[in-house]
């Protein structure tokens, strides 16, 4: 699975993107990109906990899929950060964060476009 290429492409979609990571559905990190010069706001343990919870939440959401369809993405907006999570197939999750000065609609659409027409996709 070419997650490295996927993450590189996502990081290139918008300069406001700070961090992008792929984890499995247990929240275990698979690949991560952090923009040069960016200091992560969360420490390692907090990041692990966040990934674990986000992956777990996606598994819970998927239980509603027969009624309301598959979940496409979750955008959580904080005072200092925006965080997008979305499933990559059934076994992985993508988490992307960017600052509060970026254009969120553009970023979400661009990432969805990358995934929908992804030539490297084999997850």
């Amino acid at each position: 699975m070419d997650f490295e290429k996927l993450l590189d492409e996502i990081m290139n979609t918008d300069k406001h993107i700070r961090y992008a990571t792929v984890c499995d559905m247990e929240g275990k990190e698979v690949q991560t990109r952090i923009r040069d010069g960016v200091t992560p706001l969360l420490n390692e343990d907090e990041t692990k906990e966040t990934l674990h919870y986000a992956a777990s939440a996606w598994k819970s959401r998927n239980k509603f899929a027969p009624k309301i369809g598959k979940g496409k993405y979750v955008l959580a907006v904080y005072e200092n950060l925006r965080r997008l999570t979305l499933p990559l197939g059934t076994d992985h999750m993508l988490l992307v964060t960017w600052g509060i000065d970026g254009g969120q609609v553009d970023i979400i659409e661009r990432i969805q476009n990358i995934l929908s027409g992804d030539y490297t996709r084999n997850w």
């Binding site: 509603f64 369809g69 959580a76």
Partner: protein, 131 residues
């Protein structure tokens, strides 16, 4: 500031009037107690009451998790979940209450979120606890 004395029915009505594509709105506290909840007339309920309860609990747990890192990334303002058939917006009204909105999938969520955030601001700055 708490909204514990708020007229939740009136708040619900104001939320539902924000956009005709809002299907459902509910206000509950972090223990899961529903303050007020309702569907737009004529809207089919996609989830059973039990499934709705589970969805609400998922939202509560998600906001508890988000609040754990608020010291680093700021307080959570809102969360948007898009499913194939609907969109769901949740936002904390205060430290103990959550507003939960479900819209049709084709709803333009940005103005709904903006208006709901304004409604929340009005709520928190009104001496009577209501806009």
């Amino acid at each position: 500031m708490s909204v514990i004395t708020t007229d939740y029915k009136l708040l619900y009505e104001k939320v539902m009037s924000l956009d005709p594509k809002i299907r459902f709105a509910t206000i509950f506290d972090m223990s899961g107690e529903v303050m007020f909840s309702g569907h737009r007339d004529g809207v089919e309920n996609l989830l059973t009451p039990e499934e709705s309860q589970k969805s609400m609990q998922l939202a509560i747990n998600a906001w508890k998790s988000r609040n754990e890192v608020s010291g680093k990334i700021g307080k959570g303002k809102y969360a948007l979940v898009e499913y194939e058939k609907l969109k769901r917006i949740t936002m904390p009204l205060d430290s103990d209450h959550i507003l939960y909105i479900t819209t049709d999938v084709e709803a333009d969520h940005a103005p709904i979120i903006y208006k709901a955030l304004r409604l929340k601001q009005d709520l928190l700055h009104s001496p009577s606890g209501m806009p």
